[in-house]
Amino acid sequence: MSWFKKIKERAKQQLLPPPQKKDTPNGVWTRCPACKEMLSIIDLEQNWHVCPNCNYHFRVGSEVYFNLLFDNGKYEELFDDLESIDFLGFVDRKPYSLRIEEAKRKTGLKEAIRVATGNIGRNKMVVAAMDFDFIGGSMGSVVGEKFARAAEYALEHKIPLIAIPKSGGARMMESAFSLMQMAKTSAILTKLSEAGIPYWVILTDPTTGGVTASFAMLGDVHIAEPGALIGFAGPRVIEQTIRKKLPPGFQRSEFLLDHGLVDFIVPRHKLKDTIIRLYKFYKY
């Protein structure tokens, strides 16, 4: 492409209205980033945020998974009064304390993980689901502690534990403490193994770094949503290291299935079904 064509292309792109505004008086439409189809937000919500046209799975938070998994969307949230504090006085471009406050304001959440219990197919289970919008779904002391308590809750009630990780990795602003959460969450799972309590992981987009290298990869069964990015190192870091572009689909769910790291890929609306089936295999 010659330079003036490039400029023309760019000019054309600039002429396009921003995706959400097209034909939308008040933001009831959105554009699917995969197939570029305009979708009604209401339709999208009813389809669990999956594009009806191309099956693209939009990134969603804990609330959607709780509503999706628990019978009639009824659940009880646990350990929700745990909050992060900036105990190291960590300041980069802004103080960690400010980042926590901003994340709370922006998301309405208290932390990057929520734990809830309720019935799934009339059987009580406990679910620990992460929210990427809260400081990149990073794992600090609170994420580690809530995960550990979720595991202990499963142990105490002899019910399955389901993890839904979604994380950029460990939370740098808690330094060694966040690193140790990897050991903490992995160590607690040995107790579930010993007691024969099921632990299932639903891998969602994106799951990388310290969360993948700990509780996310220790499930009895690994279920992945289609197209989710799941890996240890982030794609950018790998590209910098090997000085090559990564092939399309690298570190996506389908790639992980090919390499024996997940058991199956399940579209979002079938997740609940899959959990119920797993429960039967465990129980009968």
């Binding site: 009064d81 745990l82 909050e83 992060s84 504090i85 105990f87 190291l88 960590f90 300041v91 980069d92 471009r93 600090g140 002391s141 609170v142 580690g144 502690e145 550990a148 460990a170 939370r171 740098m172 808690e174 330094s175 060694a176 403490f177 966040s178 690193l179 140790m180 959460q181 990897m182 050991a183 903490k184 992995s186 160590a187 607690i188 799972l189 040995t190 107790k191 770094g209 310290g210 993948t212 290298a213 700990s214 509780f215 996310a216 990869m217 220790l218 890996g231 240890f232 190192a233 870091v237 790998i238 290291t241 090997i242 990564l246 690298f250 570190q251 790639f255 390499h259 024996g260 790291l261």
Partner: protein, 325 residues
């Protein structure tokens, strides 16, 4: 020729002066002995002065000193016998992680450590101590063997991180590390973890879960390297010194935070100044800690190990602050 780091320049200057004087003396020039003694004393004083006031970033540099002894040096020097074992039994042998039986007097220990390499060729061969999944799987295989024989495990951690490569992802880097965290939490023999150089992130933790964690004086242990932290949080590579400060990654901080259990002294000026002495100190510390750990009945030891990790964290619960330090 020894290698001097930026902050060691004053020492280098004095050393050069000293060498110069000694050469002059050898040539028969009149150099008073008091002058030589004076400069030798000054070197010792300067070393102490510099090393007592290292910034976190300077300690990071020391941990990477090209002459710093690595796992294989310590094993060859401090063990009365040392037999390296190879392979993960799943198709690979990762040279970034070394391991095998070591004998300290009449005590057999399963040693596992990262080896970064001491020259260009070895560094390439060992991938700069950045293990692939097979490295962690080899480590796990050796730990299981130690468990079978009832021998304690001692790990010597020294890595800039687990390797972020394509094949590493294909073969399950995250799974390999996670598996080790899980298995080390329940391995039925004592595990002693010693950071002998760099302790970067999950790559270090992959052989770094145990009953006690010790750090040598000029080492660091962190969730991320100062460079990567700078690039992610400051969005450039120029804030590594600030990142090193902010990450509180030095032994003294981590000891105060009760993340680690002890700090191992190094010869003044760092382990590279007197590697033999460093190895001697290391051997003594290993034997001391193993003796204490082996006195604890294994079930109690395992319960303590789980409890140690269960507690780590600082957070607020309602109005109450809960802190593990």
């Amino acid at each position: 020729m020894p290698t001097y780091l930026e902050f060691e320049r004053p020492i280098e200057e004095l050393e050069t002066q000293l060498q110069h004087m000694l050469q002059q003396k050898e040539r028969g020039e009149n150099i008073p002995d008091e002058e030589i003694e004076k400069i030798k004393k000054e070197i010792i004083k300067k070393r102490k002065e510099i090393y007592e006031n290292l910034t976190p970033w300077e300690r990071v540099l020391l941990s990477r000193h090209p002459d710093r002894p690595q796992a294989l040096y310590y094993l060859n020097t401090m063990c009365d016998d040392w037999l390296e074992l190879h392979g993960d039994r799943m198709g690979h042998d990762d040279p970034a992680i070394v391991g095998g039986f070591g004998l300290l007097g009449k005590k057999t220990v399963m040693f596992i450590g990262q080896q970064k390499g001491t020259n260009t060729k070895e560094r390439q061969y060992r991938n700069f101590g950045m293990a692939n999944p097979e490295g962690y799987r080899k480590a796990l295989r050796l730990m299981k063997l130690a468990e079978k024989y009832g021998k304690p495990v001692v790990t010597l951690v020294d890595t800039p991180g687990a390797f972020p490569g394509m094949e590493a992802e294909e073969r399950g880097q995250a799974e390999a590390i996670a598996r080790n965290l899980f298995e080390m939490a329940r391995l039925r023999v004592p595990i002693l973890v010693i950071i002998i150089g760099e302790g970067a992130s999950g790559g270090a933790l992959g052989i770094g879960v145990g009953d006690r964690i010790l750090m040598m004086e000029n080492t660091w242990f962190s969730v991320i390297s100062p460079e990567s932290c700078s690039s992610i949080l400051w969005r450039d590579w120029d804030h590594k010194k600030e990142a090193a400060e902010a990450l509180k990654l030095t032994p003294q901080y981590l000891y105060n935070y009760k993340i680690i259990d002890d700090i191992i002294k190094e010869p003044v000026g760092g382990a590279h100044v007197d590697p033999e002495k460093a190895a001697k100190i290391l051997r003594r510390e290993i034997l001391k800690h193993l003796k204490e750990l082996e006195e604890i009945p294994i079930d109690k030891l395992l319960a303590k190990r789980l409890e140690k990790y269960r507690r780590i964290g600082v957070y607020k619960e309602g109005d109450k602050v809960i802190s593990s330090f």
